[in-house]
Symmetry: C2
Subunit: 86 residues, 2 copies
């Protein structure tokens, strides 16, 4: 079975987010004064193929995040896995 994986990473609370601050400043300068906070992270879409069980795919995703896709010291991540159609 093939799996579509969507992963979001973001900086942990308390870690300085200069990119988020810059985006917030940019939005305010465009007149969007309702913006209270902005945090910027990464978004990844993966396709994993030939894995029989969802929990095996999930374990692989967590390993890949810890080793390469996210920096566990400063980033949190979350993910969703769904079986691909067709």
């Amino acid at each position: 079975m093939d799996w579509e994986v969507k992963i979001e990473t973001k900086l942990k609370d308390g870690i300085l987010d200069p990119q988020g601050k810059a985006v917030k400043t940019g939005l305010k300068s465009l007149g969007y004064n309702n913006v209270e906070s902005v945090h910027v992270g990464k978004y990844l879409e993966l396709v994993l193929e030939n894995i029989e069980q969802k929990n095996k795919a999930a374990k692989m995703v967590e390993e890949m995040c810890d080793k390469l896709l996210a920096n566990p010291v400063i980033e949190d991540y979350s993910y969703h896995i769904k079986e691909m159609e067709g």
Copy 2:
């Protein structure tokens, strides 16, 4: 009311994604041969405050994406809005 907004951007189909390709190569070199494709985009979390209606918040998010957060020529985006608790 205050709103929590989560936005994902990714390159449109057919646009070259060198960062995704590099991540895929990295994962393969770590032994994850089930990885069929990787696409890398941005993830943003915003808090919008003092907006009374959800559809008004949604309209603002779409405007902000078109003007600053995404590049509509090469990127697609999707978003979710939910009312903040407390």
